[in-house]
């Protein structure tokens, strides 16, 4: 067997795993990899900040369902990844993170650029590991890919000392890693499925709540079929947005704090709440005491630890959503009475924003939504994000094509995630809906998009505010606004121009559509700075109204 250097083994295994792109930033500890990079058929996207590399890998993974890979050097390179890893962890996105580390003999000596990134990322990775010899690279990397995308997906981090990368060892592509304790449950328990079927058959007004797990499982068709079979309306959590086609008539939009009234009403009148791949997060549930008493609960989740994490459920089923729903549907179809149970369905009659003349965030989203393109749509975090989730109801939105940081709520996620998504789907248009606060958090990635020619249409909802903070201060602090205002000291279009891109400032609502069309036609990233003149708050939902 031929001897190879650790860095070569790493690149070889990545290639064998089907990796065509990695997002990274070099440093002393990873230079052995960079030195060998040109011999492999892997595209390296040089980011401008490591956090963005993690978000790009995440965006890539979310839309493609394939593992996204990012690479950073030891010390500050590794710590810069942390927010991105946590973002992927909370939204169950499959990424593999590779960090360089100081040479083995320096470990634990506080050597230059040494940090214990494995220790730091214990609570935000599905798994992480030091690789202490070149011979371990192949099994560890194979395991990392398997773990990242199987079961409940999530980030896996591998930390590799520099001298492991230069160590020579025999390369055996067929080494398999053993994972004795790891057996994700895929098939649901037959008895539980039967119980769920019986409950659904006897339910008068069942509703289906869909979370991000449906996207990860690819269970869209099954959810739609089940809802038709039961004449049950479907609603989603924030992470579940784009899990089912928005054209489905009895899709009632989003539940939760800023959800739709239709979804709220349907939940209140339900006798069975059938949750698929949704983890009953606090923002979605709104009030645990009220929510948990609404109805009987069926919960399907691939992660046993999600079952009854926050509320008691009547029928839990652990396993893959697609697998379980297929069996459940089969069982329901076998029962003749199902056909007689056709009910009058609540139809949403898509909630439209009452268009105002001025430049408001929901109006702009309504315009974008009305264009009905099959764009990938990403958001940042803030009021614009929630407005987008509420009013981006375009029938053109494909499964899994709405990208948002739901669990961690990471400002600065949007631009790099959009770039990652565009790399996965070069033929699709990617539109980013961002805020003036969030965009500034990873604005440097405009230079990355410009260098690598990865075009994104950027719509900045420029309200000169941390709008969500203003809303919270409005609602909970008597309208005392502290540190939530930005002066008009940034010209985003000029910033874009300064990085080799173009854009336009829009101050009239009638110019918005034209600007977006121009952006969509552009073959490089186009920044639309929408000057917002309303400080409208997002309505809150409640179980009492």
């Amino acid at each position: 067997m031929a001897k190879m250097m650790g860095a070569d083994i790493l690149l070889k295994v990545l290639t064998n795993q089907g990796v065509s792109t990695i997002f990274g930033y070099p440093g002393g500890a990873t230079l052995p990899i960079y030195d060998r990079l040109e011999d492999y058929n892997i595209r390296h996207i040089l980011v401008r900040h490591e956090q963005a590399a993690a978000h790009m890998a995440d965006g890539y993974a979310r839309v493609s369902g394939e593992v996204g890979v990012c690479l950073a050097t030891s010390g500050p390179g590794a710590t810069n990844l942390v927010t991105g890893i946590a973002t992927a962890y909370l939204d169950s996105s499959p990424i593999v993170v590779i960090t360089g580390q100081v040479e083995r003999r320096f470990l634990g000596t506080d050597a230059f650029q040494e940090v214990d990134i494995v220790g730091i990322t214990i609570p935000i990775t599905k798994h992480n590991q030091h690789i202490m010899s070149a011979a371990d690279i192949t099994p560890a990397l194979k395991t990392a890919f398997l773990l990242a995308k199987s079961g409940r997906p999530g980030p896996v981090l591998l930390d590799i000392p520099k001298d492991v990368l230069t160590e020579e060892t025999e390369y055996d592509p067929d080494i398999e890693a053993t994972l004795e304790g790891y057996n994700p449950i895929i098939a649901g328990h037959g008895g539980q499925i039967k119980k769920a079927a019986n409950l659904l058959m006897s339910a008068k007004s069942p509703v289906i709540v869909v979370g991000g797990g449906v996207i990860r499982s690819g269970a869209t068709d099954e959810v739609v079929e089940l809802s038709e079979l039961l004449s049950a309306p479907v609603m989603t959590t924030l992470m579940g947005k784009s899990a089912i086609p928005q054209s489905v008539e009895h899709y009632l939009g989003m539940i939760g704090m800023h959800g739709t009234k239709q979804a709220m009403d349907a939940l209140k009148s339900a006798d069975v709440i059938f949750a698929v791949g949704a983890r009953f997060g606090d923002r979605a549930v709104l009030s645990y005491d009220k929510f948990s008493n609404l109805a009987k609960f069926v919960q399907i989740d691939i992660d046993p630890a999600e079952i009854e994490k926050t509320i008691k459920v009547d029928i839990p089923i652990v396993g893959d959503a697609k697998n379980i729903l297929t069996k459940l549907i089969e069982r329901l179809k076998g029962d003749d009475s199902i056909k007689e149970r056709k009910r009058e369905l609540v139809k949403r009659g898509i909630e439209l924003y009452e268009f105002d003349e001025g430049m408001s965030i929901p109006s702009i989203i309504e315009i974008l939504s009305g264009m009905e393109g099959d764009y990938i749509v990403a958001t940042d975090v803030g009021r614009h994000q929630i407005w987008a989730a509420r009013y981006y109801n375009s029938a053109g939105l494909g499964t899994g094509m709405f990208l948002t940081s739901g669990g961690l709520g990471t400002m600065g996620f949007g631009l790099p995630a959009s770039i990652g998504a565009k790399v996965a789907y070069p033929d699709k248009k990617v539109v980013l809906i961002t805020g003036d606060g969030s965009f500034m958090m990873n604005i440097q990635e405009l230079a990355t998009s410009s260098q690598h020619n990865i075009p994104v249409v950027v719509i900045i909802m420029n309200d000169h505010h941390l709008g969500m903070i203003r809303q919270l201060q409005d609602t909970f602090y008597d309208g005392k606004y502290i540190e939530c205002t930005f002066p008009d000291n940034v010209d985003f279009v000029e910033v874009a121009r300064g990085m080799g891109l173009d854009g336009v400032k829009v101050t009239d609502i009638n110019d918005v559509k034209g600007a977006i069309e121009k952006g969509l036609e552009s073959d490089s990233t186009f920044v639309i700075d929408c000057i917002i003149d309303s400080q409208q708050n997002i309505p809150y939902q409640s179980y009492d109204k």
Binding site: I122, L179, G181, Y288, D289, T310
Partner: protein
């Protein structure tokens, strides 16, 4: 329907904390211990005893943890531990019975006048004198945690120079049929 709030878990804990035991079988890989203890501490529960050692199977490790937690909290922790990649099996004292055993190592101030009194406790509780120096005597005792506690109460007045407990080793009281080491 269940009474209000009763269906809400963890977020509004109404249960009291009690002592539970978790017994974990895992691969002997670096970081397993850190992962397990991190899971427990980030949920705000406190570990009272933690031991880990090899088993009859090569590369398989056993970790035994005693902790204070609510019953619901315990269930959550057990599921989270089971999720860790290098974990093979997790059992807990909520749904099965465990035998418990512990060792106490004490170093006492020693003088010839106390010899008789000390020896009385040692003999009565089957202690073993591990070391005897001028001025100090080191004794090992074994037993259930309750017994060890009693011994410790008796021996303390002699003047402890140092005390080490092994942590509590546990074993399931009943094995499943056909189980073989």
């Amino acid at each position: 329907m269940v009474k209000k709030l009763e269906r809400v878990l963890r977020i509004y804990p109404k249960e009291d904390e009690q002592e539970f035991t978790i017994s974990i079988l895992c691969e002997n890989k670096p970081g397993v211990t850190a992962n397990v203890s991190n899971l427990i501490s980030r949920r705000g529960f406190n570990i009272t005893s933690f031991i880990g050692a090899s088993t009859q199977t090569e590369d398989v490790y056993k970790i035994i943890i005693k902790l204070m937690a609510t019953p619901t909290g315990l269930k959550g922790i057990v599921k989270q531990i089971a999720k860790l990649i290098n974990i093979i099996e997790v059992r807990n004292s909520f749904n099965e019975e465990f035998l418990e055993y512990e060792m106490l190592l004490v170093k006492l101030k020693y003088s010839i006048e106390k010899h008789g009194d000390i020896l009385q406790v040692v003999n009565h509780y089957n202690g073993e004198i591990v070391d005897l120096h001028e001025g100090s005597i080191t004794i090992a005792f074994n037993g259930t945690p309750e017994k060890v506690e009693t011994i410790f109460a008796l021996i303390k007045p002699f003047g402890c120079l140092d005390v080490v407990k092994s942590g509590i080793a546990v074993m399931r009281k009943y094995e499943d049929d056909g189980a073989d080491c």
